[in-house]
């Protein structure tokens, strides 16, 4: 059984050495085998940081965003290949190392988040492709002694007027001597051949044969595995631990205290895990040992009775509400939620006296590197991060506190050997950084003609940005509230003359973080449910009511009408079924969804979801469809099943039996539609999430007459 073992070890070792540590899980187009980095780097040229052109015609695009399923290893190469006029079948990809050249052009750091990869990479990757093309053309022009303007490019070759042809591979070595252009002309988007096409993902072959390498799969020679015993409640401090039993267990190399708990370091995961379970730790649990989510929500509901920090104020909603005859008040609640990526957190690290290598599926390379460097006592440039594939991210792997990387660096310092820290599913689910629980208290009214007259929304929940480097960037201090807490509520598009949005910052010691669609994950639910309640109060069709209030928002209207039309809004349905609708703007994109549900004996069944997206000019409709399908399913899981609850500081959910999600047998049919647009390309990973819960909740109202104001949805059995 030594052959596969050697293959993998040698591959990793070789590819890492040969590439200076760049590559893991390379994909060779047209085949299923990994590329040897040595072959790939054999000869050729690198016109800029984003592309390498081989004499073997192979073109490697260096991707500065992490691949967590959203398709950046395909969509960003498409943008580059478009301008390069490359042969798409020759394109491969490679994760970028940590380097300022790969910084996010907007955030100024290497980060994957905010549904911005394609939006921010759109011109960046086009320019890189266009610059490379110009150099290849210049080299061909020199060889043929022709003016570059007399030449054209197609499918990986430069051609002259008589169709003489030089391939990029033939030009590659000499083109390296050409001075890169300061600015290369970009194509008129009307002439795009590749961008806009439903190309297949480049990373699929490796994901169907077990060869894709995720962080948890990293095993450098001699690398040990660590599993940690962490505190039972957030903020707990370790007093002492007894490892007498654990130390005697097979494979155990070392047991050490680190700031987050006790690290058990062993030869294999199972040995480390069994020994971890045998360590007894005495904790000072601190204030959080009495924390209950039921109390917190009650407290939030009380808080929402008083005015909060004003975020937006149009007209005088308080006066309007006081005098209104037709008014309604509703309180919406959403729970804490973990990201629950299928690949639990992990971080592999080889820390030596003067350097450090880290292999992990991170969304936040710049901050992770700086954090690891600080703990290791090394300058950041001595720390390399190899970004592996991410077995899901959803925001969790962009931790502004670098929690899983800092912890692993502490473990590595103590281990004295290369070590991979692996979190069990329970560790991952209970390890913090959740979507914060929120309460929205909304009051609104309609006038005698059934027009929306007022809306006053008070939001209460923990700030994600507080205590992070984003606090300043987001201008929290000046504003007096966290913009991420109210996003999607403060820009309510409906034409309502009297409107107030107020924010209360909830205080609780629960670590919180962005979770796919961030603030929109709760503001979309509350606002789109409440507009539905206002429509009912006005005795109007919820779709027509929204249309009437969105006259100045053509792109909202565009997706709303497309989703309604494709879903057959207003057309008869089989007995017991009903539709609900929602529209929301998030991450610069517009999404509308129509959900079709039935409720039987208290059990909600979502039969179908139609999702329409306007993300400007789209790059790959196949990947976008997948993001909309996945976004709706991710959101349906949260709407129907998911919550984290605390009792005495302890989480009641530990694994997938207590934290269920949509599976094959209850997965709705999902139909997706894209708006054709020439507008700027915008996000897709997150915008497909916010509408799902309110569309389902509104459909339940249509089916049963019962309003859903709390997630996850719990129907009385009688319904």
């Amino acid at each position: 059984m030594s052959a596969p073992t050697m293959e993998r070890r040698e591959f990793l070792k070789f590819s890492l050495a040969a590439s200076g540590g760049l590559l893991i899980g390379l994909y060779v187009p047209g085949g299923s085998k990994e590329a040897m980095a040595g072959e790939q780097a054999a000869s050729g040229f690198m016109p800029n940081a984003f592309v390498r052109i081989g004499t073997d015609e192979r073109i490697t695009v260096i991707v500065n965003h992490s691949e967590m399923g959203q398709g950046v290893y395909t969509s960003l190469p498409m943008l580059l290949a478009e301008e390069l006029d490359a042969d798409w079948s020759k394109i491969g990809y490679e994760p970028a190392p940590v380097d300022a050249r790969y910084n996010h052009p907007v955030f100024g750091m290497q980060i994957t988040g905010g549904s911005t990869s394609v939006a921010s990479g759109f011109d960046q990757y086009r320019k890189a492709g266009a610059a490379a093309r110009a150099m290849l053309v210049a080299e061909a022009a020199q060889r043929w002694n022709l003016d570059p303007t007399a030449l054209r490019t197609e499918s990986g070759s430069v051609l002259d007027g008589s169709n003489r042809r030089l391939t990029y591979g033939q030009l590659a070595e000499a083109a390296a001597k050409i001075t890169p252009p300061t600015e290369a002309k970009l194509k008129d988007p009307k002439t795009f051949k590749l961008v806009g096409k439903p190309e297949k993902r480049l990373d699929t072959p490796l994901k169907v044969n077990g060869k894709a390498i995720f962080g948890i799969d990293i095993k450098e020679r001699g690398m040990l595995t660590a599993v940690l015993a962490r505190g039972p409640v957030f903020g707990a401090k370790m007093k002492s631990f007894d490892d007498s039993r654990a130390r005697a267990m097979p494979g155990v190399r070392k047991i050490v205290g680190v700031p987050t708990g006790v690290a058990v370091i062993a030869d294999t995961f199972w040995q480390a895990k069994m020994a971890r379970d045998a360590v007894r730790v005495d904790w000072d649990e601190g204030a959080m040992s009495s924390f209950d989510t039921a109390d917190l929500i009650q407290q939030y509901r009380e808080t929402a009775k008083s005015p909060g920090k004003s975020v937006r104020r149009d007209g005088d909603p308080d006066a309007e509400l006081a005098k209104a005859e037709k008014k309604i008040e509703a309180v919406y609640e959403v729970p804490y939620l973990p990201h629950a990526m299928m690949e639990p957190l992990n971080c592999a690290i080889d820390l030596r006296a003067d350097s450090c290598e880290i292999w992990t599926g991170t969304q936040f390379q710049t901050v992770d590197r700086a954090s690891a460097a600080q703990v290791a006592g090394l300058p950041p440039e001595k720390v390399q991060i190899h970004t592996t594939l991410l077995g899901g991210g959803f925001g969790r792997r962009a931790n502004p506190h670098s929690d899983f990387v800092i912890e692993a660096t502490h473990v590595a310092k103590a281990a004295g050997a290369a070590v991979k820290v692996v979190w069990t599913r329970e560790d991952d689910m209970q390890g913090g950084y959740y979507r914060p629980a929120f309460v929205h208290a909304i009051a609104g009214s309609v006038d005698a003609d059934g027009n929306a007259a007022s809306w006053r929304s008070r939001l209460v929940g923990q700030s994600i940005m507080a205590g992070t480097m984003f606090e300043e960037v987001m201008g929290m201090k000046q504003k007096g509230y966290d913009p991420a807490s109210v996003e999607g509520a403060d820009d309510l598009p409906y034409e309502i003359p009297n409107l107030a949005i107020e924010s209360h910052q909830g205080e609780a010691g629960v670590p919180v973080q962005w979770w796919r669609s961030v603030g929109h994950s709760h503001t979309g639910f509350a606002t789109e449910c409440f507009i539905d309640e206002l429509a009912a109060l006005a005795k109007k069709d919820p779709y027509e009511f929204r249309r009437g209030l969105l006259k100045k928002h053509p792109r909202h209207l565009g997706v709303l009408e497309l989703a309604a039309q494709k879903a057959g809004w207003g057309k008869p349905l089989p007995n017991g079924r009903a539709r609900g609708i929602a529209v929301h703007f998030a991450f610069e994109s517009y999404n509308a969804q129509v959900a079709e549900v039935s409720v039987t004996d208290g059990k909600v069944r979502v039969h179908r979801i139609v999702s329409a997206l306007d993300c400007g000019r789209y790059v790959n409709p196949n990947i976008l469809a997948a993001q909309l399908e996945g976004g709706a399913i991710f959101a349906a899981s949260a709407a129907l099943y998911q919550e984290l609850t605390f009792e005495n500081g302890r989480l009641q959910q530990t694994n997938f039996h207590s934290f269920p999600m949509v599976r094959m047998n209850d997965c709705p049919e999902i139909e997706t539609h894209l708006i054709e647009s020439q507008e700027k390309s915008t996000g897709a990973g997150e915008p497909g999430v916010p509408c799902t819960a309110p569309a389902i909740a509104n459909a339940i109202f249509a089916a049963t007459g019962k309003r859903v104001r709390k997630l996850p949805i719990r129907m009385p059995e009688a319904v």
């Binding site: 959203q70 072959p205 095993k219 990526m341 594939l389 599913r425």
Partner: protein
Amino acid sequence: MISFSVNKRPVNIDVDPSTPLLWVLRDNLELTGTKYGCGVAQCGACTVHLDGEAVRSCVAPVSRAAGKEVTTIEGLSSDVSHPLQLAWIAEDVPQCGYCQSGQIMSAAVLLREKPRPTDEDIDDAMTGNICRCGTYPRIRKAIHRAAGTIAKGGAK
């Protein structure tokens, strides 16, 4: 010493017999295509075949494999030519890809037992496999596609 075979190669391994097969595959044999997702047979990411039956290797002690044939995703085909792998590529199923080894191994047993599965058969066979990215609709399509391929005598 426990002896069994993995992807048609003989294995003799000296580990605690209660060690889950998953961790023997991943840590001792370095076949990392089989994934850890939950450790309690709730997600199916660790699905492998034991004498042709789909088992959750995270809760199957390695002793259960003694004298048997284990097939992992790496052994399904040597060249991405299994009808399910081709169908997965044709439907562009994976997103993050982490759960897909387990999905494919579950689907392979389904197709062997029911070469023309109905949607209900797919529900029954695949509901034990979680996909957090939400690729279920494409998995369903890919299984139907592979079944069609098999029925037509295409691929192997």
